[in-house]
Symmetry: C2
Subunit: 469 residues, 2 copies
C-alpha cells in the first residue's frame, strides 16, 4: 500500500464513508406511468396525496414546464433513453396519419440496434445500470434491456394488461435480468376486482437493494425506476388500498409517493445523497379517457394521453440533488424527457454520440445556476408534428383529439372539455394559419389568439395584451 | 405604581415585549376578490407566482375543501361577517330564480340593522377593528362599516368599476373612516389601459400601519384586509407590471402575494405572530367569464364565479398561527367563510349571538388538533339551494350555468368546459333524481354517478367502485 493510498483511506475514514468516493454522481430516473401533471400535491391535486414528492420539490427544483416527447408510453420511453425524438429513434407510425406509435405492443418490432441508449454510454465510466419496472421498447429477446446497455432488470417488457387466460395470448411475463421469473396475474398477482397487488412494494425493494449494493461496492450507478401502478388497471398493496380520497388511482399514487420517500431517505442514510441526481417525471399525460377511477389529473390542462394538447404532454417533474441543486427553486425552463439523456451524460462526464442528432438539452446550467435556455418543444403524434411551443407561445399546425368513430363508442380523450375548433374530432389542418395560444395566460388552451391581433401586437408594443378581452 | 405593576413591567421587559400581552389573539382575515382556487402555487398554478402564500401554507394549515357561502362578492362577504347564509342575512334575491344577489350594487339596500357583525361582537373584548379595501354591503350611509362595528375603514363600498365620467354616474368613492377621501380613477388612479394602480400598495401600508399602532398600544385587533386587485379590471403597481408569465392578472396576484409576505413578516418583527390568527381566502371562484386576461384559475374545477359548480365556490384557504397551528398540515375539513365568524369568536372567547341561527362552525378543533368535523356545504344561487356536499359526495338538485340569452352574447361561465346534462344553459331540476358526484375521485364534476349504481353500491360493499369504468 503506497503512502498516497494510506492517506486517502485515512482521509476517507475521517471525513466519512461517502466523501472518499471518487466516482461521478449516481443517476436515478423515476418514471411514472400515465401519471398526470395535476396528480401531485405541489401541482394542485386537491387530495394532496404526495407529501414525499412535495418535500422532494421543496428540497429540489420543480419544473412546471416539463414535457414528454410523445403522449404515449413506448415512444416517450424510447425518447428518454436515446435523447432523440421518436421520429428519429424509430418509435413512430406512418400508416395512419397522426396516430401514435404503439409499436412494441402491436407488432414484433422494438428499439433499433442502431440506437445508443443511456446505459450503454454510461458504461464508459463504469456505471452499473438497472431498470426496474416497465421497459416497453420491444418484447422479443433482441430488444430487451440487457441487450441495450442495462446490466440488471426486474420488470416486464410491457404493461400489466390482462388477465389473459388462453394459450393463444399468455399473460405478460416478468423478468429477473434475462430470465423470465413469472407472469402477471400468475406468480405476480394483480387482483383486478379489488385492485390489490404488491408489485410497487417489489419494485421498491428491488430499488433499495440495488442502491445498497452499489453503495457498498462504491460503484457509480444508473437506476431507471419505472413502476406502472398508475397505468390502468391501477393497483396498490393492501396497506394503501382505500387510503386516498380519490379511490384506487389515488391509492396507487400514495404508494408510489411513499416509495419515493423511502428511496430518497435510503440515499441519505447511505450518505450518498450529495452524489446522486434524482429526477422524477412521468411518461405521458393522465389517461383521462379511462374515467375517474382508472386515471389521474392533468390539472388545468386540456385533454390527456394520446393528444398533443398540454394535458397529453406536460409532465410533473422534480430534480433533486442536495448540495448541488438549490433547494426550493422553481425553474420555468422548457424541458423534455430527452434532456434527461443529455443531462445525465453531462454530469457524469460522458460525451454524447457525435454521429447522429441528439434532441436532448444539457440542463446542467438550469439545475446548478437556475439559468433559462432557449429551446422549443415539439408535439408529435406518429410522424406528424402537430404543434410547437416557443417561449409562452404554442402553435398548433394540426388539431385532433380522437376520431368520431372512436368517440362515438364512448372513448373521450377530453372528458368534460370542449374548445370549439381546438378539440376537434377530425384532423384539422391549420398550417396556413396556425392556432396560437399564450400558455402563460391561458395554460388550458381555451382562447386561441386571433392572428391579426397577434400581428398587430408584435408590430406594436409587444404581445402582452394579445387575446380576447 | 404598585409592587404588582412593577413586577409585571419588569417581567415583560425580561421576557420580551409580547410575552406580557394579556389580551386574546389578534385576528386577520385576508379576503381576495375573484381569486380562484387554482391561482396559488400550492394549488397548482403553473406560473408559481405565490412564494409567500406557499410559505404561509408550509408554516400553517392548508384547506383544499374550503368554500364560500355564495359565488358572488356581496353575499359571500355578508356571510363571512355574519356567520350566516345569505338566505338568512338578507343578501339574496327572490325575483329571478337562481340569480345571485347583487343587492348592494343594483339597489339601494345593504346589510340589515338586525344583523350582528363580527367586529360588533369583538368589541365585548375591546378589540379594535379595521376594514381595508372593499366593503360591498351597501353604499348608503347607514350601511357603511363604521355603522356596523368597524372602528376604522380605508377603502370603498364597492368594486373599482369605471371609469365613469358623467354626473349621473360618478366614480366609486374611497373612504377614510367615515369621510370620503377621493374617488377611483380620480384621486385614486387606475389606468385601465396599462393596468397600473398603486391601490394594493396603499392597502398594504394601511394594514402595516394599523398593525403597528395596535401592537404599540397593546390592544387586540381584528383586521379585515380585503384588497380588490384581482377583480376586473385587474391592476398592479409599476414594480409588478409585466412580472408574471400570466400577464396582468398574474401581476396582481404577485403583488398581493408580496403584500401578504410583508404583513406576515411584520407580525414576526413585532413579535406578535404567536398571538395572531391569520386566515387567507377569497370571496368566490375566479371570474372565468372575463377571459384569460382579466381572470384567474379554478384549477381542476368546473366553471367559475356565479355558478354552484366547484369552480364557483371552492376557495383557496390557509390558516396561519405559529406555535398554535401545526406547521405544514393539510386539513380536509369541509369548511366555509362563515366558519371564520364562529372561529374568531371562539378563539377570542366571545359567545355567538343566541337569538338566531349561526351557520358557521368553530374550526378550533381543526386548527389546533387537526380534527375532522361532520358538516355539510350548501351551494346557493339567490334563494335557491342548488346543491349540497356531504363528505365526498355532492348532490345537485338544480343545474344551471348561465342563460342561453346571456351565453349567446358571448358570456360563458364555463369556457372550454362542457359536461352534458351538467353545465346546462337552462335551469334543470333534478330534485326527484339528483345528480351525484364523488368529489374525491372526480373533483371536476365530469362523471355523474348513476343513481341505480349508487343504490346498489350503498346496499352492497360501500361506494368505492361507484361510477363509470
Amino acid at each position: 500500500m503506497s503512502l498516497k493510498t494510506v492517506i486517502c483511506v485515512l482521509w476517507a475514514v475521517c471525513v466519512g464513508h461517502t466523501e472518499g468516493i471518487q466516482h461521478g454522481p449516481n443517476i436515478i430516473i423515476m418514471l411514472m406511468d400515465d401519471m398526470g401533471w395535476g396528480d401531485l400535491g405541489v401541482f394542485g391535486e386537491p387530495s394532496k396525496e404526495t407529501p414525499n414528492l412535495d418535500v422532494m420539490a421543496a428540497q429540489g427544483m420543480l419544473f412546471p414546464n416539463f414535457y414528454t416527447a410523445n403522449p404515449l408510453c413506448s415512444p416517450s420511453r424510447a425518447a428518454l433513453l436515446t435523447g432523440r425524438l421518436p421520429v428519429r429513434n424509430g418509435f413512430y407510425t406512418t400508416n395512419a396519419h397522426a396516430r401514435n406509435a404503439y409499436t412494441p405492443q402491436e407488432i414484433v418490432g422494438g428499439i433499433s440496434q442502431d440506437e445508443i441508449l443511456l446505459p450503454e454510454l454510461l458504461k464508459k465510466k463504469d456505471y452499473v445500470s438497472k431498470i426496474i419496472g416497465k421497459w416497453h421498447l420491444g418484447h422479443r429477446s433482441q430488444y430487451l434491456p440487457l441487450k441495450h446497455g442495462f446490466d440488471e432488470w426486474f420488470g416486464s417488457p410491457n404493461c400489466h394488461f390482462g388477465p389473459y387466460n388462453n394459450s393463444v395470448r399468455p399473460n405478460i411475463p416478468v423478468y429477473n435480468n434475462s430470465e423470465m421469473t413469472g407472469r402477471y396475474y400468475e406468480e405476480f398477482e394483480i387482483n383486478v376486482k379489488t385492485g390489490e397487488s404488491n408489485l410497487t412494494q417489489i419494485y421498491l425493494k428491488e430499488g433499495l437493494d440495488f442502491i445498497s449494493q452499489q453503495a457498498t461496492a462504491q460503484r457509480p450507478f444508473f437506476l431507471y425506476w419505472a413502476p406502472d401502478a398508475t397505468h390502468s388497471p391501477v393497483y396498490a398493496s393492501e396497506r394503501f388500498l382505500g387510503k386516498s380520497q380519490r379511490g384506487r388511482y389515488g391509492d396507487a399514487v400514495m404508494e408510489l409517493d411513499d416509495s419515493i420517500g423511502q428511496i430518497l431517505a435510503h440515499l441519505v442514510s447511505l450518505g450518498i445523497h450529495n452524489n446522486t441526481l434524482v429526477f422524477f417525471t412521468s411518461d405521458n399525460g393522465a389517461a383521462v379517457m379511462s374515467g375517474a377511477h382508472q386515471s389521474g389529473s392533468n390539472g388545468p390542462f386540456l385533454c390527456g394521453k394520446e393528444t398533443t394538447f398540454e394535458g397529453g404532454m406536460r409532465e410533473p417533474a422534480i430534480a433533486w440533488w442536495p448540495g448541488r441543486i438549490p433547494a426550493g427553486t422553481v425553474s420555468y425552463q422548457l424541458a423534455s424527457v430527452m434532456d434527461l439523456f443529455s443531462t445525465s451524460l453531462s454530469v457524469t462526464g460522458v460525451l454524447p454520440p457525435d454521429d447522429r442528432v441528439i434532441d436532448g438539452l444539457d440542463l446542467s446550467p438550469v439545475l446548478f445556476n437556475n439559468s433559462l435556455l432557449d429551446r422549443p418543444i415539439f408535439y408529435y403524434r406518429g410522424n406528424q408534428m402537430m404543434a410547437v411551443r416557443i417561449g409562452q407561445y404554442k402553435v398548433h399546425y394540426w388539431t385532433w383529439s380522437n376520431s368520431w368513430e372512436e368517440y362515438n363508442t364512448g372513448i373521450n380523450f377530453c372528458p368534460g372539455q370542449e374548445v370549439p375548433g381546438v378539440t376537434t374530432h377530425t384532423q384539422e389542418e391549420h398550417t396556413m394559419q396556425p392556432l396560437i395560444f399564450h400558455l402563460g395566460q391561458d395554460p388550458g388552451e381555451r382562447y386561441p389568439i386571433r392572428s391579426e391581433v397577434m400581428c398587430l401586437s408584435v408590430l406594436g408594443n409587444g404581445v402582452k395584451t394579445v387575446g380576447p378581452g
